[in-house]
């Protein structure tokens, strides 16, 4: 009996102590930005849609079932980019870092879906999947305070030539500097990260086998894309196999 009571008190005390120290620790934090951001100094790249299996797209252009999942994912993903959702967002000056560290309320820059051209889902609700020109959206991970230098743009290269022609939206796969820096979830609630749509026009040669494609962020000295260990730092590789 006494033993149980003892441990009840003992563990109660430890739990209280744990809670207290955690509370003290949390008090030292700002709710806006994390204390340290050194572990993500350079952002990773990611694509949408993201197949469940390891970044490999398998679909039949004539079978809408086979790509419906990708299409829905894209539709859902682009939902937040709808003009109706961006009403509060402002138009910002292109080609320039949009520094608003002085401002108490951080504004989000508008990203017009039309910039994604044929991949915006407006012209082609199937994002090109039915035509053999599937769209893949490339996005860069949000990192608070990141200010890319130079003219960052996405460039994708297939492993083998002649199987696919790649179009970028916006042109050149450019990522406009006006979308940076990001100020964090609480300050920058409406922030939308810039997207680059990559349209893969698969040539008749390319339908028989897997096409390996690697996309990289280029043109910015402070965005790494060659880390030995991190295969997603500033780059992303995926495969596409389209059948007819």
């Amino acid at each position: 009996g006494l033993i149980l009571l003892f441990y009840l008190v003992f563990y109660g005390f430890l739990a209280a102590l744990f809670t207290f120290t955690m509370w003290v620790m949390l008090q030292t934090l700002s709710s806006d930005i994390p204390k340290y951001r050194d572990r993500i100094s350079s952002p990773g790249l990611m694509i949408s849609p993201k197949p469940d299996t390891a970044l490999e797209f398998y679909f039949n252009r004539s079978d809408s079932q086979s790509y419906s999942e990708y299409v829905t994912t894209l539709q859902n993903f682009l939902e937040s980019y709808n003009d109706s959702k961006q009403s509060q967002n402002i138009e910002c000056t292109s080609g320039k870092i949009f520094d608003q560290s002085e401002a108490a309320v951080k504004k989000a820059c508008r990203f017009n879906l039309s910039e994604l051209g044929q991949c915006s889902g407006k012209e082609d609700a199937n994002f090109g999947y039915s035509k053999g020109t599937p769209c893949v959206l490339v996005k860069m991970n949000r990192v608070i305070g990141l200010k890319p230098e130079g003219e960052p743009h996405i460039q994708c290269t297939p492993k083998e030539e002649g199987m696919v022609n790649i179009n970028y939206f916006p042109p050149n796969g450019a990522m406009d500097l006006k979308y940076f820096p990001y100020y964090g979830k609480s300050l920058h609630a409406h922030y939308l990260q810039p997207l680059v749509a990559v349209q893969l026009a698969i040539t008749p040669n390319g339908t028989k086998e897997e096409i390996a494609i690697e996309c990289k962020i280029l043109g910015s000295p402070n965005l790494k894309n060659q880390d030995e260990r991190d295969k997603f730092l500033g780059r992303i590789a995926f495969k596409v196999l389209m059948s007819e």
Binding site: M25, P34, G184
Partner: protein, 960 residues
């Protein structure tokens, strides 16, 4: 010699087969599967299995499991090799001991005398031996000349036995015409026929008897086994429990197996058994410095748990040399100094009687120092002569100085040596006074025989007639000295009248043309083999340590009792049954045996006793002396003591002692006087043959038991801090807080030196004031220790480490709330935009790197808190401040090594991916410091309450 070769082929060489040694490979394999090794092998096997499965499934991280398996196997193999090496090292010390110089024997073969190696002897060979030789086999003597053999190693008889060709007894051990293998011929020569060789000799049979006596597990081996079972039990049950939990939480079987490995690795203190070995061997080294050479490492602790010591008398309790203890002249008894290194004698030497007595002692003595020892202390010099004469020679050398020149000044003109019929020794000398032309006749011998020949007695230098009153005084003194177990000699002299014996008189010792009666009695000297000066203190230490000291000797009961009294084995106030009978003047039978605390048991009585009677004696008497016992009876006594549940230490030197030494929980052989057989059978060798060394050994043994407790408590604590992460990882699905490899770095890296350092801890209180531990109740790892380490300090450590873990994650952007339940996504290779609490997105590798930072933080926190754990483990009851924070310097070496290794791992090897360490922000080293301080404070409070309220609920539950 062709025939000899034939017999040699039939009987084998004339050598004792050494006890069957376990093959080295078996010993090695035993180390490989003993203890926790089997658990770790299972862990390694699981790792490889899951590696195989994952490889087949094409999982990227499959190789992690391969490496983990390899590391686990390496850990087992390395610790196995280490333990094997340690054991081999301590066995080797002994191997050098038992190596014998090849013996030669002079054999008559093919009608010529040949020197042959003794192991070539066969039955029927005729061998010749002379004084100083070792008998090469059991031989029947066919020719002897003044042959005496020393059978002490075989039968325990300390006096040399004469040997002749006559058959005197049916029993081969008793008859005079047989000399035994491995005994020595002291003097004379003999020729004999070999009748037994090798293992068929008497000694060979005893040796095989000794190896037949089972070798029992040492107490510490039992304790460690108990501890291994306990930890393995905890590991397996938690492992299986969480295997079931994780399976029912719909984890994949493979993942569950990987969790199981983690739990096992976290639970098993990999480095502990090696640490225990090191601690034991450190103590063994320390004991060797104090003249206890330990053959078997585990025996180190056995000595500490000893509750009965059966000690020899001669050489162990005593100095093994006759020394003058008392003198009687001028009607008065004087005591002499009997210590080991006497340089003067303090008694009153002014009386002219003493001058006369000293002259007799000096002159009537045939013993001489071996030349060339002038620089040695007198007591250390080698003397040619028997024990009593040696004693007298040294005695007079100490008091008078150069005895040899005194003898030269008083030239000896005639001499009758001692013989057993007349029981005296006589010599006639010229005096050193040139004006005194008289001859001086001096005589010594059995006091009553000497007195018979005297008509006067010297009192204060004057001869007075020996009347009945003075004879009475002599009797009283003689009885008193004899009653002290001392060997008494009487001394008398006579100045021969000058007119009857003029200068140049020819004395004839055969016709005795000189007076041998009506002499003048001068005094008595009594001698004893005195106790070693350190022994009484050691015995009283044993007494306060609750250890019963039993004397087992072949000596006469009176001598045995006297020595027992003088060293305190029989205390001054206690009485034997006989003493009580004498005091109350009633027959022995009527004495209430319960009243007598002491007992002197004669070997003859012991022979007729049933084991129940022996048990009763051992139970009812606290102070026991066994006198006139044969070495065989020692075994019976040891078994009797063991029936009482005691841990018995036995000393012995003879070959015949070896069964008793084997049987005892710890057999202690004498390094100087001991035979090889005894040393082989023993667990420990006493280099200086001194009983006091045993007691220092006991002290060390007890200390190491306490310190091992501390080491284990220290080591077990952090296992919880290693285990909790796994459990919480499984249940709450947070990112893994600590890696398996990291755990191994704690267990085999930072923790090793500190846990060895605890072996250097001084005793908390006088451990020699405590009763010996109860084998059944006082476990090395008891419930309190496990509970306190696991459920209290261990949990505190875990809390501290988790605070650091959460701090690291939070400050990088993952609030604790976001971490719960993220495991699957967190570990998914496909998710490279994992969002943190601030909206940032992380790639898999960025998360993994953060996870390693978490490992490092967790590791550092455990290390920091282990520093506190190390400090609190210095004592179990006393405040650290009383023990002294800085007294044990090795602890600080341990602390610095711990922190040093952690620094190297974190900052030096932080970039080696395979080790999963990352350079850590400096402030994270201090997050756990408040918890470390809390551990210290809490433990001080625990100790305070234990001291303040002995016997209370707290004391019972919190004292380990």
């Amino acid at each position: 010699s062709a025939r000899a070769a034939e017999i040699l082929a039939r009987d084998g060489p004339n050598a004792l087969t050494p006890p069957k040694a376990t093959p080295e490979i078996v010993k090695f394999l035993k180390q490989m599967i003993g203890g926790f090794s089997i658990l770790l092998w299972i862990g390694a096997a699981f790792s490889w299995i899951s590696f195989g499965i994952q490889l087949a499934q094409g999982v990227d991280s499959a190789f992690d499991n391969l490496y983990l398996g390899v590391v686990l196997a390496l850990v087992v193999i390395l610790t196995g090799i280490f333990a094997y090496y340690q054991e081999a090292k301590s066995t080797n010390i002994m191997a050098s001991f038992s190596k014998m110089i090849p013996q030669q024997a002079l054999v008559l073969r093919d009608a010529e005398k040949k020197e042959l190696p003794a192991d070539q002897l066969v039955v029927g060979d005729i061998v010749e031996i002379k004084g100083g030789d070792r008998i090469p086999a059991d031989i029947r003597l066919i020719f002897t000349q003044g042959c005496k053999v020393d059978n002490s190693s075989l039968t325990g008889e300390s006096e040399p036995q004469s040997r002749s060709c006559e058959f005197t007894h049916e029993n081969p051990l008793e008859t005079r015409n047989i000399a035994f293998y491995s005994t020595t011929c002291v003097e004379g020569t003999a020729t004999g026929i070999v009748i037994n060789t090798g293992d068929r000799t008497i000694i060979g049979r005893i040796a095989s008897l000794a190896s037949g006596v089972g070798n029992e597990k040492t107490p510490i081996a039992i304790e460690i086994e108990h501890f291994v079972y306990l930890v393995a039990g905890v590991a397996i049950s938690i492992g299986v429990l969480f295997f079931i939990i994780s399976v029912s939480m719909r984890y994949k079987i493979l993942d569950s197996i990987i969790f199981l490995i983690g739990i096992i690795v976290a639970n098993v203190p990999e480095g502990l058994l090696a640490t225990v070995t090191v601690s034991l061997s450190l103590t063994a080294k320390r004991m060797a410095k104090k003249n206890c050479l330990v053959k078997n490492l585990e025996a180190v602790e056995t000595l500490g748990s000893t509750s009965i010591i059966c000690s020899d008398k001669t050489g162990t309790l005593t100095q093994n040399r006759m020394t003058v203890a008392h003198l009687w002249f001028d009607n008065q008894i004087y005591s002499a100094d009997t210590s080991e290194d006497q340089t003067t004698q303090p008694f009153d030497q002014s009386s002219p009687s003493w001058t006369a007595l000293s002259k007799i002692v000096t002159l009537c003595n045939r013993a001489e120092f071996r030349p060339g020892q002038e620089n040695l202390p007198i007591m250390k010099r080698v003397v040619v002569g028997d024990a009593s004469e040696t004693a007298l020679l040294k005695f007079s050398e100490v008091i008078l100085g150069d005895v040899m020149s005194i003898r030269a000044q008083n030239r000896k003109v005639a001499e009758i040596p001692f013989n057993s019929t007349n029981k005296f020794q006589l010599s006639i000398h010229e005096t050193d006074d040139p004006h005194d032309k008289r001859f001086l006749l001096v005589m010594k011998g059995a006091p009553e025989r000497i007195l018979e020949r005297c008509s006067t007695i010297m009192i204060n230098g004057k001869e007075e007639p020996l009347d009945s009153e003075k004879a009475e005084a002599f009797q009283t003194a003689y009885m008193e000295l004899g009653g002290m177990g001392e060997r008494v000699l009487g001394f008398c002299h006579l100045y021969l009248p000058e007119n009857e014996f003029p200068e140049g008189f020819q004395f004839d010792t055969d016709s005795m043309n000189f007076p041998t009666s009506n002499l003048c009695f001068v005094g008595l000297l009594s001698m004893i083999d005195p106790p070693r000066s350190t022994v009484p203190d050691a015995v009283s230490k044993c007494r306060s340590a609750g250890i019963k000291v039993i004397m087992v000797t072949g000596d006469h009961p009176i001598t045995a009792k006297a020595i027992a009294k003088s060293v305190g084995i029989i205390s001054a106030t206690s009485e034997t049954v006989e003493d009580i009978a004498k005091r109350l003047n009633i027959p022995v039978e009527q004495v209430n045996r319960r009243e007598a605390t002491a007992a002197v048991v004669n070997g003859m009585e012991l022979k007729d006793m049933s084991s129940e009677q022996l048990d009763e004696i051992l139970r009812n008497h606290t102070e026991i002396v066994f006198a006139r016992t044969s070495p065989q009876q020692k075994l019976i006594i040891v078994e009797g003591c063991q029936r009482q549940g005691a841990v018995v230490a036995v000393t012995g030197d003879g070959v015949n002692d070896s069964p008793a030494l084997k049987k005892a929980d710890i057999g202690i052989a004498m390094g100087i006087a001991g035979s090889d057989a005894a040393k082989n059978a023993a667990d420990m060798v006493l280099l200086d043959d001194n009983f006091a060394s045993i007691v220092t050994g006991v002290e060390e043994g007890r200390l190491i038991f306490d310190n091992l407790k501390k080491t284990i408590a220290y080591t077990l604590t952090k296992n919880i801090a290693e285990l909790c992460p796994f459990l919480i990882y499984i249940i709450a699905s947070i990112p893994m807080p600590i890696g398996t490899i990291t755990i191994l770095f704690i267990d085999l890296g930072t923790d090793i030196i500190p846990s060895v350092a605890l072996a250097y801890e001084k005793a908390e209180s006088d451990i020699m004031n405590r009763r010996p531990r109860n084998k059944r109740k006082d476990r090395l790892v008891n419930q309190q220790l496990a509970v306190y380490s696991y459920l209290q300090i261990g949990i505190m450590q875990s809390v501290g480490a988790f605070v650091t873990y959460f701090t690291v994650y939070t400050e990088q952007g993952f609030l604790p709330s976001t971490l719960l339940g993220v495991r699957v996504d967190w570990e998914s290779n496909a998710i490279n935009d994992f969002e943190d609490s601030y909206g940032q997105q992380w790639t898999k590798y960025q998360r993994t790197y953060l996870q390693w930072t978490g490992y490092t933080a967790f590791f550092v926190s455990i290390t920091i808190q282990q520093v506190a754990d190390l400090i609190i483990r210095k004592t179990r009851r006393n405040s650290i401040f009383r023990q002294g924070l800085f007294r044990n310097k090795v602890i600080w070496v341990g602390i610095f090594s711990q922190i040093g290794i952690a620094l190297i791992l974190t900052y030096g090897l932080g970039h080696v991916t395979a080790l999963n360490f990352t350079p850590l922000r400096f402030q994270y080293w201090f997050v756990a410091v408040p918890f470390a301080i809390l551990i210290w404070v809490y433990d001080e409070i625990r100790k305070l309450l234990i001291r303040r309220y002995p016997g209370s609920w707290w004391d019972k539950n919190m004292y380990y």
